[in-house]
Point group: C2
Chain length 277, copies 2
Amino acid sequence: MQRNSGGAVEPLKIAFIGAGRLATNLAPALQAAGCELLEVWSRTRESASELAARLKCHAAWGHVGEATTEADVYIISVSDAALQEVVGALHKGRERALFAHTAGSMPLGLFAEAGHERGGVFYPMQTFSKQRAVDFSRLHFFIEATTTEDLRLLAQLASGLTAEEHIHEAGSAERRRLHLAAVFACNFANRCFALADDILQDAGLPFDAMLPLIQETVEKLNTLSPEDAQTGPAVRRDSNVIGMQRAMLLQRPDLLAVYDTLTRSIQQPHSTPKQDK
Amino acid sequence: MQRNSGGAVEPLKIAFIGAGRLATNLAPALQAAGCELLEVWSRTRESASELAARLKCHAAWGHVGEATTEADVYIISVSDAALQEVVGALHKGRERALFAHTAGSMPLGLFAEAGHERGGVFYPMQTFSKQRAVDFSRLHFFIEATTTEDLRLLAQLASGLTAEEHIHEAGSAERRRLHLAAVFACNFANRCFALADDILQDAGLPFDAMLPLIQETVEKLNTLSPEDAQTGPAVRRDSNVIGMQRAMLLQRPDLLAVYDTLTRSIQQPHSTPKQDK
């Protein structure tokens, strides 16, 4: 929401640049929170039209210059590789609008580099799929903007989606660090699940049997720090089991490398043994 | 339950050897399913008494020979290192009872080696804490026994706790493989969570912000295989982000080793890139 000169509240007009997994989740959530979604632009007609149809708003596609010039806020959710170019091409005719990107590892400074005055970052800590609707009310947002006023504007957008205490101001260096932590917590943890699946498939054993184990591993984090929740042969320094498991992986050097690296990581000096039985 | 010669059903008398995290969860669940819990034995009086008090059954402690000789089934849940010795010391006076251990990586054959005829394994795929009650109805059990009759008996015990389709017969080699998969899915994934926590603590950023991300990463597994659910810079082969993240870890060779090993694992030939935005 933005106050106009008369003091009345006018809804912000928002355009989405990009119609990928993040936009597919964020745009409907902002609309449900009362924002006016003006347009979705995407490189391809198909993906722009698909999301725009869901939002009952205009679709634009092709060159990013085809996007509307009427929006107050452009939320730019494209690949990191395309971001700088897209921002450069959007600037003309939209000089007074706020541009905000959603990328973990891209700096705020790229807007100024493209000659655009009003820049911001609107980074939700989540992994998005097109098929699954995310519950934004539990998410944390990390926001940043060139001006205090625009920081407030992004905080207001976020407050339509999640609790005040989940909205954090974070500079580009902090956000890069958050993104790095997310790579460990999400991408690398998921790789461990995939390797477990791999080990079981080889023997025709059901991966579904792992789901309650994985869920409990995560539910423990509501009450214990992950360091305190650590169990297993590595933290117990159970060299019999470790030796047996390494022997099982001798034919799979790819898995053995992960086994040895994570076992060593768990056994670092600050790790303390836990009882496992 | 066991049929006596007259055809009436007599409850099985069960003793727990060991009062650790697994016994603390399994014993009350079996009692709630209608089993008669006769006794809990533990090395220390304190832990035996604590669990026995919860179960309102007898406690024994000290040498394992002090355990009751009256049970039909002994569920032996001690450390892998102690298991062989405990089984050896229990045999005398309990020759006709069924001994079942609960360890992922210990063979069924250890009972025969100790001269004990009726051996079995009762392996629930879960990580247990003393502080958290586990919901057994979702767990998978992997069972094994020397005789068909005892296999049926262990299946009956398990069917009091979980659905029939969650009870699997698995030999010792398969069970070792399940345990290895669990190390990846639970212990190694948890280590990735701990490293994310480490990265955030260094910068005073809140680990709680990661919880919705971690929960969504796991919830995806209900509909996608972990390989299909993989996201992030590694699977996108986003060398800009990977280079920037590696640079952030140069002062932390321990974290960099994990980063490089898991990035390589994700980028193995069979991994296919996924759209992340």
